[in-house]
Amino acid sequence: MYAGAGPVVPGSDAAMKGAGTQQTLPALRGILQFQMSLDCPLRYKRLTIEVLLDRLVLRRLYPLAIRICEYLRLSEIQGVSRILAHWACYKVQQKDKSDEEVAHAINQKLGDTPGISYSEIAARAYDCGRTELAIKLLEYEPRSGEQVPLLLKMKRSKLALSKAIESGDTDLVYTVVLHLKNELNRGTFFMTLQNQPVALSLYRQFCKHQERETLKDLYNQDDNHQELGNFHVHSSYSEKPSSTIWVFAARGFPPSPCSGRVGALQNAVDEYYKAKNEFAAKATEDQIKLLRLQRHLQEDFDKPYLDLSLHDTVSNLILDGHHKRAEQLYRDFKIPDKRYWWLKISALANRGDWEEMEKFSKSKKSPIGYLPFVEISVKHHNRYEAKKYAPRVTPEQRVKAFVLVGCAADAAIEHKNETEMNFVLSKCTASTDTAVVEKLNRARAQLLKK
């Protein structure tokens, strides 16, 4: 298609072979012929190929320009692609053809020629006010990411979002999401996100760090009670009531009932029930109970209790000798027997309260056996106490107990049990237990003689 003045290049394709000046001369013969019809004379020698091509393009002599590129063997990007891009940009301005036709024609001519950005052509179309054409052209752009900026400009935000997600470029998705946030009203914004899980997830991440309140709204929108529950639990830890408590106490006011935290936790409980997550709801209810109790303990004993785990709370109570209170918690929170016993003997040993430990050991049958009593006494370097419990250990574990206490050899010899003797021998170190080793070896030899 020719849209300007000037003759057609004579069909000298056959002659236009070869390289170098042999190529240029015939090509330029055409130009010189054309030159003569121009208003202002062109001086070939002073023109570079680029400028020449530009002038041709300006005059819309696209086929001529393309032929010249091809004969001069310019790389596609330098030559043909540029021309085609110019041509396409011109084409989109043609108001007489329909969008469909123009888009099709352009695609036909351009195909997949490298170096052509369909998005640029589409941008030009948009600038001419042909939005639909622009969108059709964008469809040809192979890289989804390239389509996004123009789509945003054209206010096709939802499409922009899909394309961004398709491109796999997380950063691009972020850009679009944040752009949408400013562009759309809240309701529409959330609705758009609902349909795009990837974008939603990214936005949630952003909110988690930057705008926590929005997170709540997002979850509300979604009726996601589980996450709302988590949200409230998380908020409850972000508040620091402990300092507030002491400030109040110091000023003589009754300490605030850490309402901020408990309030948040109560909200969490409600959400967890709505989410049918009984476990989380009960656990959080227990936590509220514990916090309230800890507050009282702090008041009563003037020591920090808030924010300790249940285990540590009970442990600290025993360490300070408040056994009745510890028992109370044991019952109220349904602490399993095994745990309570482990806890108690550790704490008592730490405190050095061997008397209490003995009393406790006799209070009822130990759910953890008596080996732990031995272990913990030995850990605190109290062999004397350990010896008290060793005989109460079950038979299978007795040798182990005696090893710990250091009179294992005797027990094994007493039992006339070879396995036990071997076990004890394995625990002996050559340097310190020579006497014991000898004793055992003699006993073993005697056994084997039988």
Binding site: R143, S162, I165, E166, G168, D169, T170, D171, L172, Y174, T175, L178, N195, Q196, P197, V198, S201, L202, Q205, F206, H209, Q210, Q226, N230, V233, H234, Y237, S238, F279, A280, A283, T284, D286, Q287, L290, D307, L308, S309, L310, H311, F333, I335, P336, K338, R339, W342, L343, S346
Partner: protein, 572 residues
């Protein structure tokens, strides 16, 4: 040690007029310098830290120059935050596309520990780009890669993105002799079990006990037997370390003792020397011997420290429980062991790890245990761990066997959220809901539990199971072994199904035409989400057996503790 220390340590930086180094996220930096430069990863938290500093300066009337260098790239969200905090105009931003840090002669790390949490917990794909660029870089230096194998959604996405980058870049890889012939990409969640096991090869144990950072470890006074701690670089340059790093711990102490004796013998040689020999000895050999002596005593000290810690924590009992879980018997006993472990407050991360191991090997805990173990944990360590359990559930690490909810119900929930086009890019968070573990079936199919008559010889191991005392062949390594052997996934269809699909195998025909024999033997094993030292030891062993060399590329070094820490919601 941080990646920066491996590239430019403090003295080099000081030579370039850096006054002082501060760590981001501890106390705010108080300094009188009038230029601040922040070298950071693109995180919103960090942006707020920087904004706080800038705003504080503004309030006190100080004016300084601020530059932020984002590594490996800047994210739009960061700019947004800087804008929202009102400091965007006060700072200049730059990018440092730093992707790969060689930690050793066969280990390359991307130093992205956050990859694990970001991708597998949050479903955030932000780092896939970095992985693709890292692959592109390696390809341009050592490629073109002949065969590409992979399994896992992230592996697939990274591969596809990398291919797109290659197409766009018009790089010319023709005419270059390839040095890496094969590459294998694997998602961490293909095999969580291995990462959760206690490590017993020396390097793994050191990592578990002391935590190796960027290839370097801090040995405290209990190891150095003095009152100082020292930083030691652990790599193939350390002659002592390189000989013991892959060995099972039981062999290590004996080996070190033997070496000590040899060393002593060498020292003793000087008794019979004349002046000339002595001079020679002092100038040539003494330094080397002293160096070896130093290294030996360090490693012996480390071994002693490790053994002390292990006996304290009933290591033997725990290993027994672990092996039972791997093999699949005495499950009730193991569960009781775990419960006791929690009750006795031995270690929070260890308890969590054992719970996850139980869950994955058993395809979820039975509801009674799920409730009970969680309750015990909350009582021991605090109720904020409700959120921790939520995280672990999302990642598929600690789940409940759901009798009522069949797989199809979950699938339909997931499919409601998927649109056609976005199907490929759906977040993994949803994927893990629908994902089953299938460990037992895989174990049977691939023969991961060796049947041994008599004792398993740990000194002269005969298969990769030695890295776990002969009890278990690491699943990830076994998969790699099988795929390399078969040059593809043919014959492994059932295994692929049990691994939830997403396998691929691609050959670059151009590279196949000229098989440079040397490069065919080199395999780049890429772990997306972290790689453990045990897996590296196992694959090095495999390499020796099969006559190929493994190079490891990982998003970060990992172990069970790091994985658990990624899931734990700590109090603010």
């Amino acid at each position: 040690m941080s990646p920066l220390d491996r590239i430019a340590n403090v003295s080099i930086l000081k030579q370039h007029e850096v006054d002082k180094l501060y760590k981001v996220e501890s106390r705010p930096a108080l300094s009188s310098s009038d230029q601040f430069c922040f070298l950071v990863r693109p995180r919103i938290r960090t942006m707020r830290y920087i904004a706080d500093i800038v705003n504080a300066d503004k309030m006190s009337g100080r004016s300084r120059k601020y530059k932020i260098i984002f590594s490996p790239q800047k994210f739009y969200a960061c700019e947004m935050v800087l804008e929202e905090e009102g400091v965007f105009g006060d700072v200049t931003c730059d990018e440092w596309s730093f992707y790969l840090l060689p930690l050793d002669e066969d280990i390359i790390s991307m130093e992205l520990p956050e990859f694990f949490r970001d991708y597998f917990l949050e479903g955030d794909h932000r780092w896939i780009n970095s992985v693709a660029r890292a692959l592109q870089l390696l390809n341009s230096l050592y490629g073109p890669f002949g065969k590409v194998y992979g399994i896992g959604r992230c592996a697939k996405m990274s591969y596809e993105l990398w291919r797109d980058l290659e197409e766009e870049s018009e790089g010319d890889s023709q005419g270059r002799k390839p040095e890496i012939g094969n590459i294998f990409l694997m998602d961490r969640d293909t095999d969580y079990v291995t990462a959760l096991c206690s490590q017993v090869v020396y390097e793994g144990l050191v990592d578990d006990t002391f935590r190796i950072k960027c290839g370097s470890v801090d040995f405290g006074p209990d190891v150095t037997s003095s009152d100082k701690s020292i930083k030691v670089l652990l790599n193939a340059q350390d002659k002592v370390f390189s000989q013991i790093r892959n060995e099972h711990f039981s062999s290590v102490f004996g080996f070190l003792s033997q070496k000590s004796r040899n060393l002593q013998a060498q020292y003793d040689r000087r008794r019979g020397m004349d002046i000339k020999q002595m001079k020679n000895f002092v100038s040539q050999e003494l330094k080397g011997l002293k160096q070896e002596h130093r290294l030996l005593s360090l490693h012996i000290g480390a071994c002693e420290s490790i053994m002390k810690k292990k006996t304290k924590q009933d290591f033997q009992e725990m290993i027994k429980a672990e092996h039972s879980l791997l093999e699949g018997f005495d499950i009730r006993e193991s569960t009781s062991f775990i419960e006791e472990h929690i009750d006795r407050q031995v270690s929070p991360t260890e308890s969590l790890r054992l719970m996850c191991l139980l869950s994955i090997t058993e395809n979820g805990l039975i509801p009674k245990d799920y409730r009970s173990l969680k309750t015990q944990y909350l009582q021991s360590y605090g109720p904020e761990h409700l959120l921790t359990f939520h995280n672990l559930k999302r990642m598929g690490l600690l789940t409940e066997q759901s009798a009522g909810e069949t797989l199809t119900a979950v699938e339909s929930k997931v499919s409601k959220l998927v649109t056609d086009r976005a199907a490929g890019k759906i977040t993994d968070a949803f994927n893990s809901l629908a994902r089953k573990s299938n460990f037992r079936a895989l174990s049977k199919k691939l023969g991961l539990i060796p049947r041994v008559d008599g004792e398993y010889d740990l000194k002269m191991p005969r298969d990769m199971a030695y890295v776990f005392s002969g009890a278990y062949v690491p699943l990830s390594c076994k998969i790699i072994e099988q795929v390399l052997e078969r040059r593809g996934w043919l014959g492994l269809e059932e295994v692929v199904r049990l691994l939830n699909g997403n396998e691929f195998s691609v050959s670059d025909s151009a590279a196949e035409d000229n098989p440079a024999w040397e490069s065919q033997r080199v395999v780049l094993a890429v772990f997306l989400g972290g790689c453990t030292f045990s897996e590296m030891a196992a694959l090095r062993f495999l390499g020796k057996e099969r006559g190929c060399k493994f190079i490891f590329l990982t998003t970060a070094i990992t172990n069970s503790a790091r994985m658990m820490e990624a899931a734990i919601e700590a109090k603010a």
